[in-house]
Symmetry: D3
Subunit: 115 residues, 6 copies
């Protein structure tokens, strides 16, 4: 993923969320609201919430979710070492089956740093 691809990832995500919202009933809309609210600043700062989301997405092996949380982690000022340590926890908890996702995760991390 280079800078253009990241932009396209965001736009594609936006475009498809719009399609969901065109169809969404009340429950689906409420779920999407909840999905934003749980990551908002609270007793746990946003940065650590995003890293929890990153670890959860990695052990559940969802590339789209991982990408989203990486972009958010970068914005929240997560350092290289913090990023690596969080992924090492996900790797040990989730096993070698997570490695293909770690490959993409570190590649995206590098590309975000070049921006």
């Amino acid at each position: 993923m280079d800078e253009d691809e990241i932009q396209r990832f965001k736009e594609e995500r936006e475009r498809l969320n719009d399609i969901i919202m065109d169809h969404a009933g009340l429950e689906t809309k409420r779920f999407f609201n909840l999905d934003s609210q749980v990551y908002e600043d609270g007793q746990i700062p946003v940065k650590w919430k995003e890293m929890m989301g990153l670890v959860a997405s990695t052990v559940l092996r969802c590339d789209d979710c991982i990408e989203y949380h990486i972009i958010r982690c970068k914005k929240e000022g997560v350092s290289d070492s913090e990023f690596e340590e969080a992924l090492s926890i996900a790797l040990v908890v989730g096993g070698s089956i997570t490695i293909p996702h770690l490959r993409k995760a570190f590649e995206l991390w590098d590309q975000l740093k070049e921006e």
Copy 2:
């Protein structure tokens, strides 16, 4: 996915199933038969069986399986609201990790309606 892509999806699926059948032993063949039989009309009408398959595929997060059941649901006359309600159950049961699959699901649903 536009109409051509859906056609290609079906043909690719067919082509790869043929490859499996070239190799398949008796057990694999029997499994594939079972995989058709459980969705046949019975005490539960086909339409609801397909929607159960859709929900199961969504919580297990298998895009190919979701696509297949969406195409079948459309054929069986599932309405927009029924489709949305079924996916809202999958969303609540399976969590935000299913959202990337919902994005593709609603997009495909729209494209099937345009046909």
Copy 3:
């Protein structure tokens, strides 16, 4: 599970939900509301929604969730054959790994009929 055990299952569930609610923040409370709302009568009748919940819980292999939906299915008048057909879909989608859950599911189904 005999009748007493089913009663205890319900009470234990209630007792533990109360503990969650003692702690729950706004998001957790909203999630629990959503978890009720998606199974309410809509374009899809309650009965089929509960069966979708049953199939989803079975392929995800959650005994507590399966038990809950079985009790609800029974209340909604699901027949023996409908119950069996739904579980046969879950079995084929989810594989032999679901069998231990099917064992408990059919046993509970029998006990609910005796009540």
Copy 4:
């Protein structure tokens, strides 16, 4: 699990399978047949098929399935070292989340040796 518990595990399994078979339609019965047939002697000897079943059950974290395959592995003459190596593969593939299942697996293995 001591010797009596293993006996009870087998009997309970048998009892519950009978309940399933009382309800089972044609598809469920066929699935159960398939579930036996794929482990029968073929180009791959039974012993290695059972160990594949053991590894699959461990990474999918199904205690009942693990127990069943351990009892079968013991019968097929799997050695201590082979057993340990197979589980170390499951541990690395599936991650630390499999450790609670490994605990029970090694305990059962010890008890089967004492018989």
Copy 5:
């Protein structure tokens, strides 16, 4: 779980880990070492690592792992609100299928506070 049960949980865990170590080859032993090392103090403080372990264990639905990380979180001074916010993230990511694990988690949390 009352205080005695928590003590028994720890002892049982210890006893079973000893059984694994009696059998463990080099790789299994190394994995267990890794499983400790990734949670040690680093760029990310221990407290947040344990909460990441808690969220990962919850979305992967492993009661034993959740219990272990709850006991560790309590030791590291995690507050009630932090605990609740972390579990609300796990709930939204992992869906209603995690609720049975949340029930046990909050009950254990209460019992640890009474000690």
Copy 6:
């Protein structure tokens, strides 16, 4: 996947592993070592270890991992029938949700034979 694609798969894998290693702390490096060591010749011959890795990867539905183990299985002289029997175990354990992965697996197997 034709021969060129397989070569590209290997190179891409290598390139991304290098990125991980650029970032990797001690724990991540150790995990990668473990991930090689558990498949080395021991009491269980390499060939069977690779097939266990194949079955584990298939029930966990990880295409990258499946591809890797297929290439290794081919190198270790796994026969057509052995390959098919192993995948039929994975299919029955993991259910129809594994079928999209079987499609790709058999296609790759055919392409490796043409080389």
